[in-house]
Amino acid sequence: MPTRPHRSAVTDTSRIRNFSIIAHIDHGKSTLADRLLERTGALDVREMREQVLDSMDLERERGITIKAQAVRLAYRSPSRGDYVLNLIDTPGHVDFTYEVSRSLAACEGAILLVDAAQGVEAQTLANAYLAVEGGLEIIAVLNKLDLPAADPDRVEEEIASVLGIDPDTVLRVSAKTGEGVDALLEAIIDRLPPPQGSPEAPLRALVFDSYYDSYRGVVCYVRVSEGTMGTGDRLRFMVSGEDLPADEVGVLTPKAVPVAALGPGEVGYLITGVKEIGRIKVGDTVTRRDHPATVAMPGYREPKPMVFSGLFPTDGDDFERLREALERLKLNDAALQWEPESSRALGFGFRCGFLGLLHMEIVRERLEREYDLDLVATAPSVGFQVVLTDGREVEIKSPQDLPEPTARREIREPLFRVMIITPTEFTGTVMELLREHRGVMGEMQYLSPERVELIYRVPLAEIVFGFFDQLKSRTRGYASLDYEPDGYATSDLVRVEILLNGTPVDAFSAIVHKDKAYTYGKKLVERLREIIPRQLFDVPIQAAIGSRIIARETVKAKRKDVIAKCYGGDITRKKKLLEKQKEGKKRMKMLGSVEVPQEAFIAVLQVDAD
């Protein structure tokens, strides 16, 4: 058997360009990707749906990109012949920064897309820094030239002064109209370096993403760095040690098209027939058993979940189904973590870790939609470090796990470095907002006379719930935000518990700063009083710190719940009405003898303790 059977089947590296588009949210990344697909004939017009790369329903509905995706474009340059362009899409939301760095690791270059009306935003900077750190060549591109508000000269200046990019190299496009896209394609082959790597070398291919297909099992997205990988090869996953066959290798155009082999610099997919989730890890390096590499490629830093929430099936019998669904999601969502959790109020479920609130919402929605599960999600919480009186340190992910005051010496909460770019007229407003959220000022830098960058250190618990919305509303949408973990600090925190009908409900507990505990407790019980329907008896709702009650409301017993009249003997109709009401009740959770609707569990989210 020949050791290197695929040489003739693979593309010459000099004809390959691998790149990502990085941008602040809403700067037009998906539209530009669509335009590139269209210009390179990846899809004919009939097949074009708007924003092809955003394939998950959720992505379309929310207008955001969640999962990185890869597509291979066949580009014929008018002057230089045929090229293969691999476009690796990246998510735009700050929750998913780790996905961006993962995608960038599979590229030699990046298109830094900036809205010509909005200018440089927080994620423009964050993503640009990631690309620079990754050693990528950057092409800066101004988008939305078609907008009347576009001010490309000003934005070009901003890019030059903030990122040190030569303004003469900045391209201008309108992804919407297609203007400038041809020049961009030429710049991609002209200015981005081709991948390096010898086809003769032992195979090293990075698994940069994966998903689960119900027919094919685990499908890996791979980028080959060296060597070749062909259908039928016997492969070894270097980190996990799994030996698996390459049942099929192929490229995404964006339809999956099998190919004989992938060579250096090529991006495509690999199917091994593995159905067991967890046997393949994103970040692993694939090599060939008959000609193995000795050193794996640098993997990825495991993304660290920052926000935790309990997910419980409404119907306790769905516990196993929930576990399976989480396992499947985990396959292409490395950041998702979970462990079994039991709650007195909600029974058995999972304590899940998420990158942020958007990530949490998306996971929950996917579980409900794609796996048809009916879930109760408890109030999200950040993770805390607790130093016990005996000096031991423990990490807690749930307020229930907080040791009693007598057993702990201190609680440390996670802090974030928050970067905000805002028009200068809102500087005072933004600083006020940050102060309210216990932020400590770091740096302040003027990007231009009109725009300023503020860097603060803020407790994660303060920015994770509603901070972004407040920032947007107080700056009329002009400020942008990016953040990254910045260690832990000791803080004066207490656990606020909620008692329903005199019984503590663990799922409602929260750890909050002492100065905010009273307001928080008061607002939460008020909110719960609105949400919890009237029952057969009065239901007191109390907030307590330890044994001290800090707030109380009562849901008064309901007094009238009866159909006055059966119309002319129409019993069927009365039954139907009651049946319908009964179905509504099914979606409630019994906590002791109190019926609680599911939205009560996320009410905590809607409480703004300021």
Partner: protein, 388 residues
């Protein structure tokens, strides 16, 4: 007629009603449709009356008789008195000839106060009607106006007086809880009704029914009836009625001894009744079925093809239904399989603890009728017992 001179809430009477048979006749015509009304009604005189009467007679003539004569007949609407007494008498004669009429049968008709003058009352009595149900609704002119009613409190008083001379039993319908109605207004309406010497009172909470002008107004932001206000008024009506010797024997119905409505009793006893007219619901041979709602279609297809839908229940479903409707009565039900299952269920135990449901060995009762639907939902949520 009149019924046995026993208390209206007597359990033996309630249970015996299951053996009675009845007939309902729907008269859909109204001069003007009230904004809260959800019945199968049409407005204005139109030219459908004569063909409708023919269609009714044809449907009655084509139906199968019961084993015995009718114990109760009820002409409802709509506004039955929008037809003249002779025409209504002819419908009644049709029923009597097809089904037979028991000697003591209750023959009841609904009437609007503004229609019931002395000649009309005498005409109806002569035609064989021995009970009248007057749609008084309120004695407060402002409330009557807000309910879209055309009569005055004085007309209502006069109609009651006329009715008392012509009929053996007189009922008044009242509606409570309209927005703007004060507690005093309501209490005074109830007091005036009982003081007028009625035998029977139906006091209904105003309900916002889907698709009615009232529902549209509420959707558009008008205030909806307040359930706590309605609860207060319900309890007020109950005590005023009781003080005048009118016993509450069903969620919304009160009667003097001997004046419980037979047609009502048999409906709630899960008894069988025939039904005629558009949108009419019947319960026969263990099956519920209902007629086409549109008057023109009903007229066109009577008598052969007027049934629009039906519901056939298994033994468990029937028993659940028996308990469901039976629990609307103060007398409650013999528990049977479904009642025992309810009393033994977790939800049933909660309802017993909350003082809503009362269970003794051979009787299950709702003792807080204002929360009756809590019981209904708990009953419908029960799993059928395993077979065998």
């Amino acid at each position: 007629m009149p019924t046995d001179a026993v208390r209206a809430d007597d359990p033996a009477l309630a249970d015996r009603a299951a053996t009675w048979v009845g007939a309902y006749v729907h008269i859909p015509f109204c001069r003007r449709v009230c904004p809260y009304c959800d019945f199968a009604v049409v407005e204005g005189p139109g030219d459908l009356r004569a063909p409708y009467l023919e269609a009714l007679k044809a449907e009655i003539a084509a139906d199968q008789p019961f084993g015995g004569p009718l114990d109760a007949v009820h002409l409802g609407g709509g506004t039955p008195t929008s037809l003249d007494p002779a025409a209504l008498g002819a419908v009644l004669a049709g029923l009597a000839s097809r089904f037979g009429l028991a000697d003591d049968a209750e023959v009841s008709i609904e009437a609007n106060p503004e229609d019931l003058d002395a000649p009309t009352a005498e005409g109806l009595a002569a035609a064989g009607f021995n009970r009248v149900s007057l749609g008084v609704q309120s004695f407060d002119p402002a409330v009557l106006a807000s309910l879209g009613r055309r009569h005055s409190p004085e007309q209502a008083g006069a109609a009651i007086a006329i009715a008392r001379t012509s009929f053996a039993s007189v009922n008044v319908d009242l509606i409570f809880g309209a927005v703007g109605e004060s507690a005093r207004s309501w209490e005074s309406s109830v007091q005036r009704a009982v003081d007028a010497g009625i035998d029977h009172l139906s006091a209904y909470a105003l309900t916002v029914e889907r698709g009615t002008p009232l529902a549209r107004a509420v959707l558009a932001g008008a205030p909806a009836p307040d359930p706590d206000d309605q609860a207060d008024k319900y309890l007020a009506a109950e005590s005023i009625a009781a003080a005048s010797g009118l016993v509450r024997y069903e969620t919304s119905n009160y009667a003097r001894n001997g004046h419980a409505c037979r047609y009502n009793l048999l409906t709630w006893a899960h008894g069988e009744y025939a039904a005629f007219g558009n949108g009419a619901h019947r319960h026969r041979d263990g099956r519920r079925s209902w007629n086409l709602r549109r008057v023109d279609r009903y007229v066109e297809r009577s008598p052969a093809a007027v049934v629009a839908g039906e519901e056939q229940l298994d033994a468990w479903g029937r028993d659940v239904e028996r308990v469901l409707v039976g629990l609307r009565r103060t007398a409650g039900v013999v528990p049977g399989i479904a009642g025992a299952a309810l009393a033994g269920s977790a939800a049933g135990e909660r309802l017993i603890a909350a003082g809503v449901l009362h269970a003794v060995a051979d009787r299950l009762q709702v003792i807080r009728p204002l929360l009756g639907d809590e019981v209904g939902r708990a009953l419908l949520a029960l799993e059928p017992p395993p077979i065998g």
